[in-house]
Symmetry: C2
DNA sequence: TTGAATTTTTAGACTAGTCTAAAAATTGTT
DNA sequence: AACAATTTTTAGACTAGTCTAAAAATTCAA
């Protein structure tokens, strides 16, 4: 397998995740924003990754991962989520403390290590934030009837199934209001003018902005 | 604490280990050989590390770590040895399979992670090769009456206490002849002309060159 | 459908780390 | 103490990844 730099790996991962909720090609600017870098840097990297056949790229037309590129991205995501699971399950870190460390650990090169870690953890299906962990073969087991909190309807009762993992402060906030994986919630109301959602959590009312509601996934009961 | 690149960390570690068995300053060439690089590259790096006050360096006079530099080096060695212990104890790797992976893991930046790993492993005192693991504070507990096999005398009976960890093939060879930590050996003979040592291991006679004998440490019984 | 706004690319520069080749300093030997 | 051998440094170049500023392409709106 092609050996990649950390930077190349980070680009692949970013393109993959952006592709998850975007139809068609990913634009240079979109990617630059995600990578906290400049469009010109992105262009350079796209040329290089295209050269290596990890993605398709045509000037001014954005990019899309090839199968090769996708499987690289999935391998990195697999490592990231396995390491997060290790940190929480074995080293007792909080779910809000592991993202940064996993960002480093995901670049460790050794398939053997990854697979043994997977086994050591008991082949977990999801990471501490509820995100599915891709298998050895890169397959992600589809998670049943999950929707975003932003797509819920008033009156619904649901279970918290997953949250975005990349903002420490967001996770700390969830901790503070007592929201964890498996927590039961009731959708009390939605405000039409700004999309805010009012939710009952452990007998307390909490209001989520639409931005937050898009970062939480739930399973309706 | 000062943030260092992987390359800078590798130089510090190399200088530290070379200093262990060399009196006075480490020469540029010596370091270049250890780092598998050119003397000119070493000179550049020494200037940079001197600038950062991690070592003392004067043109043509070699270098020596400052206390700051030493404690950085010890922190990296601590991480390396803890990760090796993790790989062998928890993920069932062989002692001959872990060096390369630990070379990557030793650069993960998180003191919290290191200390929790230490705890998870039960605060081990030595790694799978018998090398002592520096503590949080950088202190290495002195290992009692260990000598190099090369310094043994004929007729001596001893226990294997440690081996160099950085050559996979050497470790595989030791596996093959049934030599592990704790194995008992008898020194049968030493050949004056080349320094070879003939040893009895599990009722089998084995001959070690002086080069090998310097990479094995023992405790006389 | 054309001109303005936006997006994207190019050109050129910078840093970190490395290299080769040549110059300079040190060391060793007589 | 002087010269030869060795070691070390300097000078200049290269790659990867990034940046700024300017040019080019695309998109959008009147």
């Amino acid at each position: 397998m092609l050996r990649l730099t950390q930077s190349e790996e980070n680009y692949l991962k970013a393109i993959f995740t952006l592709s998850q909720d975007t139809e068609g090609a990913i634009s240079t600017n979109e990617l630059a924003e995600k990578m906290l870098t400049k469009a010109s840097s992105v262009t350079d990297m796209l040329k290089k990754l295209c050269e290596k056949e990890l993605l398709e790229y045509q000037k001014y037309q954005g990019c899309a991962l090839t199968n090769e590129g996708k499987s690289h991205a999935l391998a990195i995501i697999r490592k990231h989520r396995l390491w997060e699971t290790f940190l929480v399950d074995k080293l007792s870190f909080g779910w809000d403390e592991v993202h940064e460390i996993a960002e480093q650990l995901e670049h460790i090169q050794s398939t053997e290590l990854t697979d043994r870690l997977d086994e050591f953890l008991g082949f977990p299906k999801v990471d501490p934030h509820g995100e599915p962990i891709p298998g050895k073969d890169g397959r992600i087991e589809s998670v049943s009837n999950r929707i975003l909190l932003s797509e819920s309807v008033v009156g619904m009762r649901a279970i918290i199934m997953g949250v975005e993992d990349d903002q420490t402060e967001f996770l700390q906030y969830l901790n503070k209001i007592g929201l964890h994986l498996g927590t039961q919630i009731d959708i009390l109301d939605k405000l039409n003018f700004d999309g805010s959602i009012i939710v009952m959590i452990n007998d307390k009312q909490v209001q989520f902005s639409i931005t937050i509601a898009k970062q939480i996934s739930i399973k309706p009961l």
